[in-house]
Symmetry: C2
Subunit: 490 residues, 2 copies
Amino acid sequence: MFQEAESDPALSQAKFKKIESHLRVQLVNEQYKHINLQDRALLILVAGIDGAGKGDTINLLNEWLDPRHVHTIAFPAAGKADYAYPAARRFWMSLPQKGEIGIVFGSGYTTLFDEAAKKSLNAEKLQDNILFVRRFEANLAANGVQVLKLWFHLSREAQHKRVQERQANPSTAWQIDKSDLRAHKKFKSIRRAGQLIIEATDAPHAPWVIIPSADPQLRTVRTAQAIYQALKAPEIKVPAFHDPSAAPNLKRRVNPLDKLDYTATLSKQDYDAQILQWQNRLALAIRNKKFRKQALAVVFEGPDAAGKGGAIRRVTRAIDARQFNIMPVAAPKLSELARPYLWRFWRNVPSKGRVAIFDRSWYGRVLVERVEKLIPRTTWLRAYDEINDFEQQLTQHGVIVLKFWLAITPQEQLKRFREREHSPYKQFKITPDDWRNRNKWKAYSAAAGDMFTHTDTPHSAWHIVAANDKRHARVEVLKQIVLALEQNNE
Amino acid sequence: MFQEAESDPALSQAKFKKIESHLRVQLVNEQYKHINLQDRALLILVAGIDGAGKGDTINLLNEWLDPRHVHTIAFPAAGKADYAYPAARRFWMSLPQKGEIGIVFGSGYTTLFDEAAKKSLNAEKLQDNILFVRRFEANLAANGVQVLKLWFHLSREAQHKRVQERQANPSTAWQIDKSDLRAHKKFKSIRRAGQLIIEATDAPHAPWVIIPSADPQLRTVRTAQAIYQALKAPEIKVPAFHDPSAAPNLKRRVNPLDKLDYTATLSKQDYDAQILQWQNRLALAIRNKKFRKQALAVVFEGPDAAGKGGAIRRVTRAIDARQFNIMPVAAPKLSELARPYLWRFWRNVPSKGRVAIFDRSWYGRVLVERVEKLIPRTTWLRAYDEINDFEQQLTQHGVIVLKFWLAITPQEQLKRFREREHSPYKQFKITPDDWRNRNKWKAYSAAAGDMFTHTDTPHSAWHIVAANDKRHARVEVLKQIVLALEQNNE
């Protein structure tokens, strides 16, 4: 695959001049279509042999493109603040908005690259890293981020010559660092690692393009052409499923909501005694030293008026107000729509030692967005896998993810709606939307059933809580949180 | 001022019950008006004697209010990542959006408080801290953030008793920390510091309310009432000027744009030689070790087609693409309009060792927003002072702030507009807006003149660059940046 690049092809100054002006017009015009359409973002990953001129090329492209819509991001070694969150968060946080171009150095490939360049490969770790990258890229493609990956390559001799020349010239010597010098000596292992990574992660929705880099003119032209082709592509090649086995099977199963016992109740007296006991245990569990290395994300879902707000307040009462955040999830804002779906949730992931409470959540994708037909069928079908992946990354980092479905009957909902209409400080809670959603009770229940089937995972189970009796539901929620925390603090 | 609070007044359970339900209805209804109007944010600063029950009260209010629109923020001791930015940045970044309520513990008062509690006061430092707080709060008030400051107070004996009781009870002992215990011993100096701060920073637009805190019922009622009153206030009491001497005097002065020599030119040959030289020096200056403790913010302003983009590209060519960001400044987005004006610029301040380039900037406030009458006269009049304050905070932290006005004549602009219309890769740069702005040339020039008068400060001067000749302008810009950096690296 490196045959052409290692023959170090060149482009004469005359030929370059001829191509340049036409290519620049094409490129900037295509960028402006991209900016105006705002229908996708382009993420360019820059990798390859050190000292191949990656930085120079990107600087030049910043001149050819309108730089106001290009964001270059370098990922330095992760700092302390980064370890407070799962590793993937900083990639998520740096995604370009629709209409923009993001150029990324380093990126998620650094870990994979380091792994692939080791003398004795650890097959399992390597496979894990490859899977992470493939899933991440498939997720981006399916959510409006087009990925283009550039591998800057040249022969060992040309690399060595280029680095030495630049080092000798005082006006370019500053561009040469240790890794550029080292690349000459480690050429074989870097080359092998590159080959491995390109083969393992080349995909129609996230293709690798190898840029012959010995000659600056050819390097520039090939890079510009690759970006031009990407911008020109009529659409992102969205993968059906990263893995066919990930396609959810929607055949009819018993819906746990249909077999739930909704009659569970708790007397006022029992409630008063128990709620205090669980709140005390919650306060202690969160102040346990071991929790500082963990975090807690609690999701509340369920029909309108199921008692999510009341349950949340019983939980937060036991936590220092400085230690938790509540994220109320409504329809996404414009800035959120301009990014992949999970972006706004990644943004609100709790850092170590903290609690994040989601009043509705990322499950909106397979509930309201599915039922109200806000997204195509393939999008929500794919979302189960994306969500499982997201939660797995959280739990792997020590975030305890607890998901509650507060289940009520339609009769109970009607009763509560009526009460709200007559309460001076609950009136605001009832809107025409609530009545409309009520008419789609069956569709929402079916969507919830599918959701339980496909997202009830070993690392993050669903807790379906009978909530016709508020006291029972509140104690149950607190109890499950406390037990999960205490188990993790052991 | 603490007389009432130190008499430790109480409210009986019976009276509390009577007040409670009515007060809750009032409070939540007022919050909903606030959410729906979206015309301002409420920032509540929580301070006072440790162990007075601040945390308890805020937790309770989170139950009384709709917690989805309340954000509680605690500022822990500044971390390493915080020192990368001026101290004020984290307060700015945590401001609530319009319609929301932010509750802040710690806050900008921590430094002031520590200063005021010292045995031997450093009058100058204290005065600096007080000024910082007063200016910050005046800025917030003028930009849609209402500030309410609560001081929780009780007698020394009541504080001691409360802390001891809570410590003895296993279900509340976790709430007591060292500062609660210390407060008893240091009561006198804490009290004195509180008095000093309250007197120095009480203002109609950011009032202090003292909450008697010995009795939990009364404490809750007083806090809820204070918040209710703040939400109910028909508008924020915006201060005219923090300091009458800060009111700009707009009397006619010679506009530097009128006496500028627009004929300066540079030959192609001289340009080619000089631009490379300055780019080399720029590359070296930025890679100088000393720059790691500084940062560079470069502002470009000037008429349309003045050559800002071209000048920016000549600068960035000498900088590693990973080390700079370009912020293109257009009309603010909804999420930006929901916050004080300077919020989006604070967000893009460079961290240490980095370069931020602003293609148009915060000066839009006193240019386009003034000329197009997008804001009231008082707002842009006040903006000069706010901007000077902002830049001073940057420079105090080691950020070098360079401001360029690229000056062209109307004839030159017309020529460039015509060229753009006929260039295949510049067509996109010309819009109907550009022609419209051109008709207001005089008004924009006058606004620029006032801007130079009022924001050309010792810490951040304006560089007015004759830009009819692009080569001259580009070399001039690079030169000024290099000289400023080299001077700072000395």
